[in-house]
Every structure is written in C-alpha cells, then in structure tokens.
Amino acid sequence: MGSNMAEAHPVGFQWVMEAKARGARVIHVDPRFTRTSAHADQHVTLRVGTDIAFLGGVINYILSNELDFREYVRAYTNAPFLLSERYRDTEDLDGLFSGYDPHTASYDPSSWAYESVRAEERSGCREKEQTDPFRHGAAGPAVEGTAAEIASDPELRHPRCVYQVLKRHYARYTPEMVERICGVPREQFLDVCRAWTANSGRERTAALVYSVGWTQHSVGAQYIRAGAIVQLLLGNIGRPGGGIYALRGHASIQGSTDIPTLFNLLPGYLPMPDTTHEDLAGYVEAIGPRHTKGYWRNADAYTVSLLKEYFGDAATAENDYCFDYLPRINGDHGTYRTVMDMVEGKVSGYFVLGQNPAVGSAHGKLQRLGMANLDWVVVRDLTMIESATFWKDAPEIETGEIATERCRTEVFFFPAASHVEKSGTFTQTQRMLQWRDQAVEPPGDCRSELWFFYHLGRRLKERLAGSADERDRPVLDLAWDYRMEGDEPDGADVLRHINGIDLRTGRTVNGYSDLKADGSTACGCWIYSGVYADEVNQSRRRKSRFEQGPYEAEWGWTWPLNRRVLYNRASADPEGRPWSERKALVWWDEEKGEWTGHDIPDFELTKPPHYRPPEGAEGPEGLGGDDAFIMMTDGKAWLFAPSGLADGPLPTHYEPHESPVRNLLYGQQGSPVRKVYGRPDNPSNPAPPEAHHEVFPYVFTASRLTEHHTAGGMSRQLPYLAELQPELTVEVSPELAALRGLVHLDWAHVVTSRAAVDARVMVTDRLAPLRIDGRTVHQVWMPYHWGHTGLVSGDVVNDLIGVVADPNVLIQESKVLTCDIRPGRRPRGPALLEYLQGYRDRAGITPRTGTRIMTAGDDDPGPPHMEPGQDPDQDPAPPEGSP
C-alpha cells in the first residue's frame, strides 16, 4: 500500500517476484493500476487518502473475529495495559481525543497515559509547537515509571485495557463503511482481510510495504501506525518474512535521517535541544527519563559522546560538555516554514545541496519566490538545475512575478562531485551502510560536499580566529581535524569518528554499549556505533552472496550493530523458542546460555527469556527476558501510543485537507491538529463542510515513473532516460475523459487554487472512477519529474500543491489534493494569474479557507488558524516578491 514498488524500486521488486515464486500472494492496494499491480495477484483500487479507513477496517475485522495472534499480542504489545480514566476516545468526542484545545489546534496528551504511570504534565500549551513531537527525537516524550509494573489485564477483558479500547475505537470501521469511504467493494476488501490474516500467525508471516504514498499526508505518521497495529496484532513484527518496509526514494535518505540534516534532530535521533532544556541534565532527563526501561535510558552517554566528538577537548564535565553551544529550537523550523520566512525576507542565505526545491518541493512557486527574495543562495549540484536558474527562466518570469533585473538574489553555483568521484557511505532503505570507493578524481571545479564543508569550516575558523565574541566559541572550539588525503578530508576517518572512539585508548569503540557519559568516549552517531569496530570499516565488506548465509551479515553493515531484523527477539516466543520451525530466526540456546540464530539477535546476548528485572532496575537492566521491544520505555510494542504523537494515540480516519467528500465517520472532517499555513500565497481548495468544493471536483495524486528520478535533475538530463518518458502526461480514466472531453495524446491542463499545469492526456483503463457514498469520484494522476530545463521539459507538477503538513513530522500533504481538469492548454503569462483568480473567486477562496480545522461537535470551533499577521478576509493577491 502507498508504494509502487515495481516502478520506484525495480531491483528491490525482484524479491517480491522471488516471494511469488515461493508461493506468496501479492496484493497491491493503490489508487491506480501500476506496473506493480500488473504483477500482483490482486489489485485493489482505493480513493487516495483513505488508507487509515481501510486499515482500520482490517483491524476491526481482526478484532471482531478474534483473529489476532493472541500469544504474541499478549506477550509483546501493550494490549493488556490499562489506560487512565481520563482518556476519552474519538467515539466519545465525535472524532477528537481527550485533551484537544481548539485555540491552539493541539492536544495535551497527558490523559492518554497508562493508568499507573505519570506522564509528563504540561502546563497547558501556549503554542501548538509546544506539543509537537518533532521535539522528542525517536524516543518520543517521556512516559515515566514504565520500568515499574504497569496495571494490566492479561485476559484483555478490562474495558480500559488497550485491547478493548482498540476494539471500541475501530468498531465502526465496518466493511460497509470501508466501501463507502474508500470506494473498495465489500467483497474485495474482505478478500484482502482473509488473505492477510490467513497468511499470518505461527507458521506464516505477511510483510507490508509502503513508500511516500503513505508519508506525504496530513496524517502520514498515523498511516504507518495503522499499518504497524495490523502487523502487531497478526504477529508480523520482528519475524522473518514479516515487518513493515519503508521503501525510500534517495540513495541516502535513510542516512540523512540517521545522521540528520534535519532541524529537529541531532545524530542518532537525539532531539535538537529546545528552550525548555535548561542544561544537559534537563535535556537527558527529557529523553531518557528515570524509572524507564530500554536503551534510551542511556541517552546521557550518547549525548555526551556526541558533544565530545563535536567540541573535543573543549567539552568538559565542568562546562556541561559545551551543551550550551547548541542552538535551541522553539517551534517549527521546517523547510516550508523557512521558505515562507524567505518570502517575508527573514532569511538571508540558503544552501541547496543536491536537491531541487524549485521543482521537487511542494508549491514550487512559493519555493521560487522565496529564493528570489534572498541575499544569496549557494547551489551545489551535478548539473544546472531550476533552483539555480530561477532568476532567468522560472515560470514566474513569464507571468511577471519575477523580473530578472529586479531580482536581488546573488547565486553561487558550485559543481558537485558524482558518486564515483568520492568515497563514502550511503545508508540504503534497510538501514544498511555500503561504502563506495572513489573511482576517479572529480573534473574541473567539481568537489564533494565533504571537501566543500570541510574547507568552508576551516576558512570560517581562520576568519574568526582570535575573536572574543562568545558567540564564535562553538566554531572556534569545533573539533575539525580529520585525516586528509591531499586537500580532501578522508571520509573513512569521518566515519571512524561517527562510529566512536575510546579517548583513553584512541581506538574505535565496538558498539553503543561501550559509550560512556563521563566524557571518555567520543561518538558522532550512537546508532552507527560498530560500523568501524576493531578499526575496520565494516561498511566496506563485500563478501559474495555465494559465500555466506541467508542473512549475508558480511556484506556492508546494518545499524544497529549489524542486526538485519529489528526486534527479532519477537521471532521467538516468550520462552525463547521459535514460534515455528518454519519461521525460526533467533532463539535462546540453553546450553550456550545465549541468544543465537540466523540473524544477529537484537537483544542482550546472554539475558535469558525468563529473566525478570529486580525492583527499581532501569534502562537495559530494566528489560525483562521477554521485553522484545528494547527501545520502548516499557519494553512493549505500542498498539496504543500513550505519548509521542501530536494527533492522537490511535490512528483515526480523517479526510485529507482537500477532499471532495465529508468525513463519514465523525463530525471532525480533517485532522484536528494538522499544520495549516493560512496565507494569501498558500491558498487551499475548499473541502466540506466549506462551500464551493465542487469547483475542484476531482481527486489528484502524483508520483514517480521508473524512467525518471524525483525532480528529474538526474534523469531529464540523460538522453537514455529522457527518451523513455519524454513528456509530462496526465492519466485519466475513460469515464473522466468522456466527462471532460479529454482526448488521448491531446493537451489538457490541471488546475488548483495555486496553479494550472499543462500535460498530454493519457486515457487509460488503468484508472477507474470510484463510488464514494453513492457518488462517483474521479481520480487524476500525474508524474512530477518535469521542469523547464533538461533534454525534455514540462510544467512543474508540484506547483499544483499547497503547503499543509503532518503535525508530527511536518511532511507536506502532497499525495492528495483536489483539482479540476480541462481540455486544451492553460493560459500563459499574466492571463494565467487572472485565470487562477477566476477559479479562486468561483470557489470563494480566501486565506481563511481550510484553516478552520475543528469541525467536530457543536462547541466553539475556535479561530481560523492563520499565519501571524494575515488579515483573514484578504483575497490571495499575487504574493510578495513580485514587481
């Protein structure tokens, strides 16, 4: 679901074919019939943005038919735990959970806690950001005292136990409801339920694959939670052939999250400190609090080691290891927020590194206008991309919104080194680091990012040398002495520092358990600790698949500690025996007195299954022999998330921000805490209960083609790829084509309140209309690879998309919106602006549209959630930055 694996990850898809050869049944749930569907046993067409309703239906099917893997659920999930009396479910509040504040459009999650433990109380929420979990890194916020015994009902009968709460929450997600919301005929839906449950349990496992088709939604995080709940109920986590696979789209997008270039994270999913973190102690307490189980309790060791790597000798116990050097976040500083700040002139400089926001980010126009309003921008890429040339060939030049000679932005283009011209590691989609050897020297001025940032830092240090300004201390104290090869820093040495070094011996540490909080170790990313164990670059290993076992432990290196299947302790029953011989992965070896198996156990090697922690034990020691989920503060997998999520402890179906239909399940239409940015240059199409949504009657979604890569910077420029998909097309069903008079291969244009985009029409049976609650709903699909440079060019599809985000991770909702489609080409130049204004007038769109996000119940819906300083009734005029 939410993935078109055969097209976006063709080589990975060989393993699906392999599974088919071994008898697996492949089901593809997707809005359109794709090259993946062509090889699935069953394809299910569903309406974009309704996956939670679908999965909720599956959960309901499992629970109401008692088809869950009971022993697994009882032993490894928090199903038995009792919740606090203060908890109220969406069942009680018309689609809201307890703790909702309409004025900040955010939740106070304290009422979601377990009965017997104290969740961190919050003194109300002054601003929405104060509640936002992006402040919490991967651990999620504290649930203190979970090391202690938690009130539970092993029989899963207690009305307040998670199991029963789950059952009640999903009771209304019936097959009939799924059919009305998703448009999936009842029988097809039940086929999927039957197949999924029949292929799970002791003897069998089912795997779930998703991609950005799930993440790019205003409730993206909850999509994945919903998938996780199904997989947990069926016992498909931590077991061979089970799991949830996030197929990621870039060579090192996993790595750039582990070692983040993200504002809210430090390496290893440590949260970026915020204004509530007075000092190191407070920070550490917030991440790995007292009286909790699991490895996050050692956050102090991870943090101190990181600071030691950052600031070297300057970091001492006395000065709190330079914790104060770290800048503090106090809200949303995500890329979209930043771009809007650019438009408002709040940002001076911008580095664009191997990315192409002018085409690749949602609301491309906003991106370009933002960049056109900077002091300077540095673009580093292989080729001349749209983000470097916006000042002379952006679409806004044609409409007069950007005028070259009035655009002040100073642009530096630095040619980048390609993947064969530098050595280093990518982390692929299954957390595996693979080292690349350098093949050739970069030509001309081309340099690696490693070179660029090392020398930028060196020059900055030289420039600031001797400065008395306290503000410059972090730069001056920055540990910046890596082994050099000529004037290129040695990537291997950087990786060595990321792995971690024992400062007493000067040798690399062998894993994160070696890290200390006393400043005696330095480690750049604790989860990568072990990649340079024994002073050997483990990620460089290339032992042939023909010479090693099924889990190929000697090819590359997978974090954590080269464990290929996370939480694989769960592949054995509480007593440590494999659930079944067929599905054995790791198990307890009584003779040796240690865990063993095909994979490296994701568990303390010598901790027996029957181990019970002593009273008051914390952290790893606090984990029992059957606490398979060793990163969780209670050692259990969370069916119900007592904390860590901004939008509720349980996935709930909300309609997308832009939707043609009313939410059939609750009064609450969309996510009540979704992040909206109500402003003239970011208009929304109206959605029920707002009026005039029929002006944009069709559901729009966009995704990839095999033949191109993301924004096309690495494919539109290549003849061999460009010739395979030379033009931007829009795929429509025969029914919609007839309705709108669209002709195969002719021109048409797609319109939203943001933009209109030209494309050639592909009329195909691969798309089909859906019957949603008695109405016929049509869906439109486009690939988003085109821009105005390259061998093949076309309009920028991302211009159609507005900015509204998931409150947990601030990922934009770009997979689903509403649109109109008309035959013929769009107007050009200034006429285009009038054309769009016409649409906005007909739809009565103002910056206020879509910002009144609470629609549940009859009590005060609260104010529209506008951008600060926006007059709610002002019409969207041509945005700032225009002449």
Partner: protein, 362 residues
C-alpha cells in the same frame, strides 16, 4: 548451477535466483474455466482471419522495416535491364551486319551499365566502401552474385563500346586495331552474361521478407526480363534506322508481351498481398506502364516498320513503360512493408491452413 557452463567468468545475475519462476497471477478463484488454450489465447475471434479489419497489430506499427532503398534502386532495375538487352541486340547486330544498330546498342548498353554502377554505389550508406562487395562470394546473397555477374559482364560491354568511340586518329594505331579486333568477342562475351544481368534483379527483390516482392518471386523474373527486352527493343528502335531495327522491333514486341502477361498474372494472384500491386501508387504506376508498353508494342509491330518517327515514339513509350513498371513494382514492395496487415494476415492464414492440416503454401 548447470547454468554456469563455463562460458561466463562471473556469476550470472540470475544465479541462485528463483524469481524467474514467479507464480503469476492469482489463486484459484475463477476456476479453470478462465484459463485459455495455449493456441488461441483470447484470440478465438482473431483466428477467423481474412477479413483484414479483424487483424491485430501493435498500435498499427509496421512489423517489417520498409526498404531503405530509394528511387536509385528502382532506377537501376531499369538501367541494368536496358543495358543487358541492348548488349544482346548489339551482339546480334554485330553478327548480322547492322552497324548502326550495333553502334547504338553497344553505346547504350555501356551507358546503361555506367548509370547502373553510379546508382548502385550512390545508394550505399557508405559509398566509399563499395569494393567491400568483392570480399565474399555468397550463393545466398543475390546482391553478391549480382556483383560477380556485373564483374563478368562489365568489361566486355565497356570494351565493345570503346571500339565504337575510337577517334579516327587512334583507330589506325596498334592498340586501336587490337581494340577493334577484341570488340566482337568482348561484345559476344558480355551478351552471353547479359540475360543473367537482366533477370537476377528479380531474385534480388524476391530474396527479401518484403511480402509483395517475395510472394511474386515466380513472376518477377519474367516481368523483369520482359521489361528489359521491351526497353532494349525500344532503345534499338530509337537509335537505329527503320531498316536495321527489325530485330529491335521484334524483341520489343516479344518483351512487351511477356511483361504485360506477367504483370496481369501478378494482379490475379490470390491473397491479400496482391493488393499491394493493385492499389495505391504502385497500381497507378503499373497501369500507366501497361498503357505505354501496350501502345509502344502495337506501334512497333505496325507503323514503326515504316516511319522512323513512329519508331522513335514507340521506342520512347516502351522505355518509359519499362521505367514505370520497375518503379511500380518497387513501390508495391514498399507499400507491403508499411502496413502490418500484409505481414500478419497472410501468415495467420498460413497458420490456420497448417492447423487445418493443409500444406502451408510456398
């Protein structure tokens, strides 16, 4: 792995893979009823062929590649034929003492030869490599055989015509005399090869996958030699005075007859491919050709015996008729490759008959 049969030095990308056995499509739900016979596929409908509206194709794309040859090859078919039959007339005239006819035809045949050479070389993608034709002698390649035929034919023809062109000053000299001495044997030698020159071009076209040319492989030789004879005869009538042109007239008439009859036979062949000859541009060219040839032949047999003008006119008509016949035939071939129906329909038909137990037609 039995796969690794020592021909490869690195493991194949499917070594140890089972995905090649991927189990398509669906579990047993619709029951075997939905499974289809391997022969027909869904095509029970399609198997009832001939009505060509029914035939299936890949988005109407041609199955075959239309010939990359252009008008030059069609032109060569004519010039080659003309040269050949002219050489025959020349030799006959030489033996029977018809100096004017001899001189004209000798010159005509080598002119035709030189034109042919130019056209052939100019049509190559890499003209500078024309001599690569002499690398091999392949019985399976009419073009290779043709090359060697021309090698055998050319020198005699050129020598013979050289004799006609010797300026008076040279005629008396020793080399001059030698040339004149050699002219007759040379002319006769080339005359012996000439019929091959005139007819091999038919095989040249037939030995292809081009439906119209291949299907007509029994007729083309007669069409082409007939056309050559008509052209040669016509040429003789133009260049020689009525008194000497008797053989030319007779050859023209005979050739024309052969050409016209074969042409009609081709139009009467059963099967879809014939449409390539009887429709479109090919059809128009060949009709025009028939009129000219018929007219020319008629006049040759009548008026041309008396009036030199009539003879010349008839000769030109025959020449033109021959040209058009060659272009028409060439066009028919091209048309039969542009439309996939000419490939799919007859082959389907053949399979159907074979399946029905009948012999697949040759």
């Amino acid at each position: 792995m039995s796969q690794d049969d020592g021909i490869l030095r690195e493991p194949r990308s499917d070594a140890g893979a089972a995905d090649t056995g991927a189990r398509p499509f669906g579990t047993d739900r619709h029951g075997p009823g939905k499974g289809r016979g391997g022969d027909g596929g869904d095509g029970g409908r399609e198997r009832s062929m001939v009505p060509r509206a029914e035939f299936r194709s890949y988005y109407g794309r041609p199955v075959l590649k239309p010939p990359v040859w252009d008008w030059k090859i069609a032109g060569y078919l004519f010039t080659g034929g003309l040269s050949a039959s002219a050489a025959l007339l020349a030799a006959g005239a030489d033996l029977t003492g018809r100096p004017a006819l001899r001189r004209g035809c000798r010159l005509g045949s080598s002119a035709g030869l030189l034109a042919s050479m130019y056209l052939l070389v100019a049509d190559l993608g890499r003209p500078e490599r024309f001599h690569h034709m002499l690398r091999v002698a392949k019985p399976s390649s009419p073009m290779s055989i043709g090359t060697w035929i021309l090698v055998a034919y050319g020198p005699g023809t050129v020598l013979a015509s050289a004799a006609e062109l010797l300026p008076a000053s040279v005629r008396a000299t020793l080399p001059g005399r030698l040339v004149r001495l050699a002219a007759r044997p040379a002319g006769l030698a080339s005359a012996v090869v000439a019929p091959a020159v005139a007819s091999y071009t038919a095989v040249l076209l037939s030995q292809t996958a081009v439906p119209a040319w291949h299907e007509a492989h029994r007729h083309l030789p007669f069409l082409f030699t007939g056309s050559a004879a008509a052209a040669g005869g016509g040429f003789g009538m133009v260049v020689a005075p009525v008194a000497e042109a008797g053989p030319a007239r007779r050859l023209a008439a005979a050739g024309a007859a052969a050409e016209l009859v074969t042409s009609r036979l081709i139009d009467r062949r059963p099967g879809l491919v014939t449409e390539a000859f009887t429709t479109g541009r090919a059809h128009r060219l060949r009709r025009a050709s028939e009129c000219l040839t018929l007219g020319g032949a008629a006049v040759a047999a009548t008026l041309a015996r008396r009036s030199r003008t009539a003879a010349a006119a008839a000769g030109l008509a025959l020449l033109a008729g021959s040209v058009l016949q060659r272009f028409g035939t060439f066009e028919a071939g091209v048309a039969s490759t542009r439309d996939p129906a000419y490939v799919v329909v007859p082959q389907r038909e053949r399979l159907r008959r074979a399946a029905a137990g009948g012999e697949s037609p040759v």
